[in-house]
Point group: C2
Chain length 323, copies 2
Amino acid sequence: MAVTIRDVARASGVHVSTVSRAFSAPHLVNPETRVRVLAVADDLGYRPNRAARALTTGRTHNLGLIVADIANPFFPPLIKAAQAQARLRDYHVFVADTDEDPKVEEELIQTLTKQVDGVLLCSPRLTNRTIERLRQEVPFVLVNRRVKGMATVLMDVGRGARLAVEHLTGLGHRRLALVTGPSGSWTSKEMQEAAAAMSEVDVAFLGPNPPTEQGGRAAAAEVIASGATGVLAYNDLVAIGLIEGLAERGVDVPGDISVIGVDDIVAGRLGRPKLTTIAMPTATAGRIAVDMLLQSVDSEVATGVTMLETALIVRESTGEAHS
Amino acid sequence: MAVTIRDVARASGVHVSTVSRAFSAPHLVNPETRVRVLAVADDLGYRPNRAARALTTGRTHNLGLIVADIANPFFPPLIKAAQAQARLRDYHVFVADTDEDPKVEEELIQTLTKQVDGVLLCSPRLTNRTIERLRQEVPFVLVNRRVKGMATVLMDVGRGARLAVEHLTGLGHRRLALVTGPSGSWTSKEMQEAAAAMSEVDVAFLGPNPPTEQGGRAAAAEVIASGATGVLAYNDLVAIGLIEGLAERGVDVPGDISVIGVDDIVAGRLGRPKLTTIAMPTATAGRIAVDMLLQSVDSEVATGVTMLETALIVRESTGEAHS
DNA sequence: CTCCATGCAGCAACCGGTTGCAAAAAGTAT
DNA sequence: ATACTTTTTGCAACCGGTTGCTGCATGGAG
């Protein structure tokens, strides 16, 4: 079937070890021999078997990328960037979707560990304890989640939330609401803490909610009941759903209630009204996370926290408070 | 480091082959021995090394999924579904993005083949000839691309295009335009052929264009110049960009020009105006493609074409022609 | 013309499993 | 008790590479 290193060895009249070295330790083989071997290899269409190589070297040259929901528009740019960056370093990446389920997440990590050199955990829903344990088996880099002592890429959503609250209060809103996300979400907690720390404002916490359009739509009644006129939603999807839910109940955005999302997904840029949102540098996060991961794979140490800036983008879903 | 089959063998006082069989050929080992071995294995936290297993069995239990652009909203639902279906069958999936570049695509397939049992090629930009060649190295299933004799999952975009054209002519539009996609795209070709076959209508073909918002925006001038009042765009992204481009030039949709997209991505459902579009069953396609792929991995034959239905969804971006 | 350092290639063990074959154990029929 | 199956287990080779060690040339120093 496939052409192996022995075929190449036979065809070029050298020992397999020489062929092996011609590829992975060029300086240890005579330049002439090397070009000859390489020529024969190319001729035969030989391609090294990464899995076999991994067996001895311990390096699979694969990465795992685990996300809560591929279809959530927040992730694709991150996945794309991570995958591209990995390819640059000659790494392939497994992508897996946990459906927001911690059980699945853990199981996935377990079965993946042997096949990868490291795992990128994006917005994990696992407990800190579980993460600490799993960490023994394979290097991690966390995205959007803080666990002490672990390599992490964070986006400064706390600051984003502060900016959002200031924006809303600046527009005259006095009663605010935060439509929170899933309970395991670091981002959600971070937003809550940031908002709660702003003592001068009155903000109601509504949740937890699934991080989807449906989640937002379902929260509409609660938002109305809260009496808030300024709302910060867990993410754009929720914000969009919320706006729809409010519209169904005859509440206009931004006329009656101002809504701010998080993520700056494409759909928000095109929506009606165009969404005011906190932009997250997801592509950058993916790229940096891969770099950190590969670095920690080599150096055996996996630490360091990278905090990426977020930005408030004001569009049309926020406006002056009336009253 | 990691616990291997030999550790388990030693700890349970049997030979490695017995441990191996306890896992992968249970019926060949005495039930009592088996439970004992499994208990020890569980105790030690043993997990079989898939890569090592692949070396002898030839089955990696991995799949490759290659798409033109992860960030294109058309793909995530497909990726998600494919990945979920694969997991059901105990397969992991490599996801790779080609950036719409055939060179990258080919290279990716080459380096992936040894690590996977099969590859899902979604909307490939490769030539038929190249695909035929690569096919020798690894089983394929094609999505959104027709190559004779190969397993394929298609979405009936031809019929979709016909419905779209009928919808437009039904609204009184006489001059139509088709904003085509990338030159290697089967979908684009299919749409063109379907439209061209409708002899009674006058449709201009504008393209090729990159399948993005920018591509659509850039095509706006050309669309106006064509004099068309009804436009079918390669996909929703292009349609959205086009609508923006038209708006910049003072052309209203659907007031002056009607626009239809393809894919039914979320952003279109939320846009202004809400996009009339041809819905593609992407999740179903992903699921079925994985099933077909796994089937062909087992049976050594990879054929069969599955055609999935599309549907025209009329929203707000199309309207009556004003003479 | 030795002696030794250096460069290059071969040998063989090993990575973590699988599997055909044979031996041993257990069961069955005579 | 013997001969013959049928289970159950062990042995050892193998999958496709890698790598520490050894051995052979070659070349420069003394």
